[in-house]
C-alpha cells in the first residue's frame, strides 16, 4: 500500500475538520479526492505529509509511519501545492533546480532531471523567465515541475488546475496521466468533478471531513438510484401532460421550470423511448431533448442532498 490513513481526526478548535477518515491508496493508481471547498481535502493531504498535527489516527506511507523526520519516505514524495510555491527572485530554471536540489545532491544528475522536468511541462522557451513574467497557466506548470523534477514515486497534486486556462488545464491533466504511466502513484484533489472523472482510477468523495463514498466512477454512480436524466425544452406544457410523464415506469421525479422539463429516472431500459412516445401522444411541442448519464455531482447530490458546487 502506498498510503494508508486510518481513523484520522483533526480539529481546529471546535471545528471537526477530519472525522475518523480512513482510506488507502494503492500503487499505480490515480486516486482522486473529490469534495467541495472546505471539505477537508487539503487538511488530509497536509496530515499525510506530516505538516499538520492531528488529534487521532495513523498514517503510513510506503508501509512506514509518516513523521517529519522520515526522510527516506519524503525522498520519494512530490507535492504540487494548491497555491503556487516558487521564489519570485529565481528564474524558471533556478526554481526547479533549487527544489530538485533539496532531494538530489549530484549536480550532473540534477541537471538532467531539471531539463527533463522542463520538457515535461513544456517550459523550454521560458527557462530564463522570472515567475512574475509567466501567465497563470505557465506558472501552474512551473509549480508542477518544482514538485516532480526529482522523480518521486508518490505525487500529490492539490487542486493544480485552479484558475488555469483550458489549454493549460488539458496540458496539466495529460501530464498527470503521463506521470502515472511512467510509474508514479498519484493523489489528486479537486472540486472539479469533470477532471476527477477524466483521469482518476479511484475516487473518494469527502464532505465536512467525512468520507461519503469511495470507488471507481462506475462504482460510485452505481451507488445511487438515478440512472438517467432527460431534459426537454418545451414550448408549452400543461399539468396533465406533466402528470402523464410522472406515470411512466422508472420515473423518480419530473420538474418543470420555465418550460424546461427535467425527468430523472431510475436505471432501466427504454426510458428515453418511453418519454418520446409520451411527448408524441400528449402532443407536447418541444425544441430540444437530450439525455445524460449520472455525474459525480449527482452522486454527491443524492448522498448529501446538496450539489457539489454549493
Amino acid at each position: 500500500m502506498i498510503v494508508k490513513v486510518n481513523q484520522l481526526v483533526k480539529r481546529y478548535g471546535d471545528l471537526l475538520a477530519l472525522d475518523h477518515l480512513s482510506f488507502e491508496v494503492k500503487q499505480g493508481e490515480i486516486f482522486g479526492l473529490l469534495g467541495p471547498n472546505g471539505s477537508g481535502k487539503t487538511t488530509a493531504i497536509n496530515c499525510i505529509l506530516s505538516l499538520l498535527k492531528y488529534d487521532k489516527g495513523e498514517i503510513t506511507v510506503f508501509d512506514k509511519p509518516m513523521k517529519p523526520e522520515a526522510y527516506d519516505i519524503k525522498r520519494d514524495i512530490g507535492i504540487v501545492m494548491q497555491d503556487v510555491a516558487v521564489f519570485d527572485e529565481l528564474t524558471v530554471y533556478e526554481n526547479i533546480d533549487y527544489f530538485c536540489g533539496l532531494y538530489v545532491s549530484d549536480k550532473k544528475e540534477r541537471k538532467a532531471l531539471v531539463e527533463e522536468a522542463i520538457n515535461f511541462v513544456g517550459l523550454e522557451a521560458f527557462t530564463k523567465f522570472y515567475p512574475k513574467k509567466l501567465s497563470g497557466g505557465l506558472l501552474r506548470r512551473l509549480n508542477i515541475a518544482c514538485g516532480i523534477a526529482h522523480k518521486p514515486k508518490l505525487i500529490i497534486l492539490d487542486e493544480p488546475t485552479v484558475a488555469v486556462d483550458p489549454q493549460s488545464r488539458n496540458k496539466i491533466l495529460e501530464g498527470i496521466v503521463a506521470l502515472n504511466k511512467q510509474g508514479a502513484t498519484i493523489i489528486y484533489t479537486s472540486h472539479y468533478m469533470e477532471e476527477v472523472e477524466q483521469i482518476c482510477s479511484r475516487i473518494m468523495i469527502l464532505d465536512n471531513g467525512h468520507m461519503i463514498a469511495t470507488g471507481t466512477k462506475d462504482e460510485l454512480k452505481g451507488m445511487i438510484s438515478l440512472g438517467e436524466k432527460i431534459t426537454i425544452e418545451t414550448f408549452e406544457i400543461t399539468a396533465s401532460q406533466i402528470d402523464a410523464m410522472k406515470a411512466l415506469p422508472n420515473i423518480i421525479s419530473v420538474d418543470e421550470q420555465n418550460g424546461v422539463l427535467t425527468i430523472r429516472s431510475a436505471k432501466g431500459k427504454n426510458n428515453l423511448e418511453n418519454v418520446l412516445e409520451t411527448l408524441k401522444r400528449e402532443q407536447v411541442s418541444f425544441g430540444k431533448i437530450y439525455s445524460e448519464l449520472p455525474t459525480l455531482n449527482d452522486v454527491f447530490l443524492e448522498i448529501t442532498g446538496k450539489a457539489l458546487r454549493d
Binding site: 505538516l51 523526520e69 514524495i77 529565481l90 533539496l102
Partner: protein, 378 residues
C-alpha cells in the same frame, strides 16, 4: 546541500529589491542627507577672517604702530582680519559690494565706517575701542609718569587665560559623528529584514514555499542556518559598503582600529538579523505587520541613540541610563563612539558584550519558537 541552499539564498536576497533598498540604498541615502545637512552646521561654526580695509592717508603714516597691529592680526594660522590697504573711494566700493565688513580711517581716534550692524562689525568696533583705550592709557601715563611705562607695557603683554582646556581624549572632538554612528546602528538593525525573511522561508504556516521546503528530506533548521549565513554575508557586505562610503566619500572619522570596527559591525549585523528572526517568530501577524514592527524597533532605537537629535542620547545617558543599556542601537553606536574616542576602553567591551548577549538571546528564543516541525494549522 548546505552550499546549494546558501548559494540560492544569496541569489534570492540579492534580487529582492525592497530588501536591497532598505538595507543598503536607504542608509547610504540617509548618510548623504546627513552629510549635506551637517555640512551647513559645520560651516556656521567655522570662523572666517573679517574683511576690513585700512585707508592709506597721512594719519596712517603718522601711526605706524596702528598699521602694524592690524597687519599682525591679519597674519598667522587663524587670522582675525583679512586686511586691505587702499584709498577711501576704493574702500567704499568694497564696502558697498560687501567685500569688506568695514573700513578704518586712522587718526587720534580711529574711525570705523560700516554699512550695518552684525558680529563682524561688533568685533571691529571692540578692537578699535580696546586699541584706543590702551593707546590713550599709554599716552597719559607717558605724559604723567614716564617711569611707569615699562611696567604698563609688561602688564599689557601679560594678558593671560587662567582656564586650561583639557579634553577627555586626545582625539579632536566632533559631535557630528554621533549622527553617523547612530545611522550605522540603524543600518545594522535593518538586518532584521533579512532575519524576518529567513523565518518566513522555513515556517510552513507562514508561506507555501516554506511548506514545500518542510516536505523535502532535509531538516528545516539546516535550510534556515544556510539562509541566515547568506543573510549575514549580504548584510555585512552592505554595511561595509556603507562604511566605505561614509569614510572615503563623506569623510566620516572612525578612528584607527579597523579590526575592532569590523568586529562592531559584524556583531551588530548578527544582532540585527537575530532580532528580525525573533520578531518574525514571535509576532503572529501578517508579513506587513512584521515589517512595520521591525521598522519601528530600528527607527525608535536609532532615535534614542541620537540619530535624529544628538541631545537625546545625552539626555538618556544622564536621566534614563537603563534605556541606553537596553537599547541595541545605543550599544552599537556607543561601541563605535567608544572606539573612536577612547580606543580600547572597558566601555567598548561592555557594548560588544551587550550586543553579543542580545544576539544569543534572540537566536535562542527564535530556535525554541521555530524548532517545531508540525503545525496546528497552515
Amino acid at each position: 546541500m548546505f552550499l546549494h541552499n546558501f548559494t540560492y539564498r544569496v541569489k534570492c536576497l540579492l534580487r529582492q529589491k525592497s530588501l536591497v533598498f532598505w538595507t543598503m540604498i536607504f542608509p547610504i541615502a540617509l548618510a548623504t542627507f546627513f552629510y549635506i545637512a551637517l555640512s551647513n552646521i559645520r560651516t556656521i561654526d567655522e570662523f572666517s577672517p573679517i574683511g576690513v580695509a585700512l585707508i592709506d592717508n597721512e594719519a596712517l603714516s603718522a601711526q605706524p604702530a596702528f598699521k602694524e597691529t592690524l597687519q599682525q592680526l591679519a597674519e598667522g594660522e587663524r587670522p582675525l582680519f583679512d586686511l586691505t590697504v587702499s584709498d577711501e573711494s576704493a574702500a567704499l566700493e568694497m564696502l558697498k559690494d560687501y567685500e569688506i565688513s568695514g573700513f578704518i580711517k586712522a587718526g587720534v581716534t580711529p574711525e570705523l565706517v560700516v554699512l550695518g550692524s552684525g558680529l563682524n562689525q561688533s568685533i571691529l568696533k571692540n578692537f578699535l575701542d580696546q586699541y584706543s583705550q590702551n593707546a590713550a592709557a599709554i599716552t597719559e601715563i607717558v605724559s604723567m609718569n614716564p617711569e611707569a611705562l615699562p611696567a604698563l607695557l609688561e602688564s599689557l603683554s601679560m594678558s593671560q587665560n587662567h582656564v586650561v582646556e583639557k579634553g577627555i581624549t586626545e582625539k579632536p572632538m566632533n559631535p557630528m559623528v554621533i549622527y553617523f554612528y547612530a545611522l550605522i546602528a540603524m543600518a545594522c538593525l535593518y538586518g532584521s529584514m533579512y532575519g524576518l525573511e529567513e523565518v518566513n522561508r522555513v515556517q510552513a504556516n507562514l508561506s507555501t514555499k516554506a511548506a514545500r521546503i518542510n516536505i523535502a528530506p532535509v531538516h528545516k533548521l539546516k535550510v534556515f542556518t544556510a539562509g541566515v549565513l547568506a543573510a549575514l554575508l549580504m548584510h555585512f557586505s552592505g554595511l561595509l559598503i556603507l562604511l566605505a562610503y561614509m569614510h572615503f566619500v563623506l569623510g566620516v572619522a572612525f578612528g584607527d582600529h579597523l579590526i575592532q570596527l569590523l568586529v562592531v559591525i559584524f556583531v551588530g549585523s548578527i544582532m540585527g538579523i537575530s532580532l528580525g528572526t525573533f520578531i518574525s517568530a514571535v509576532v503572529k501577524k501578517s508579513e506587513g505587520v512584521k515589517i512595520a514592527v521591525v521598522l519601528v524597533v530600528s527607527m525608535l532605537g536609532s532615535f534614542l541613540a541620537g540619530m535624529n537629535i544628538a541631545e537625546v542620547k545625552y539626555y538618556i545617558a544622564e536621566n534614563l541610563p537603563i534605556i541606553g543599556y537596553l537599547n541595541p542601537a545605543t550599544l552599537l553606536s556607543d561601541a563605535l563612539y567608544a572606539l573612536y574616542y577612547y580606543d580600547f576602553s572597558i566601555r567598548f567591551f561592555i557594548n560588544i558584550a551587550g550586543m553579543s548577549l542580545y544576539s544569543l538571546l534572540f537566536c535562542t528564543l527564535t530556535y525554541f519558537i521555530i524548532r517545531g516541525r508540525k503545525y496546528a494549522s497552515l
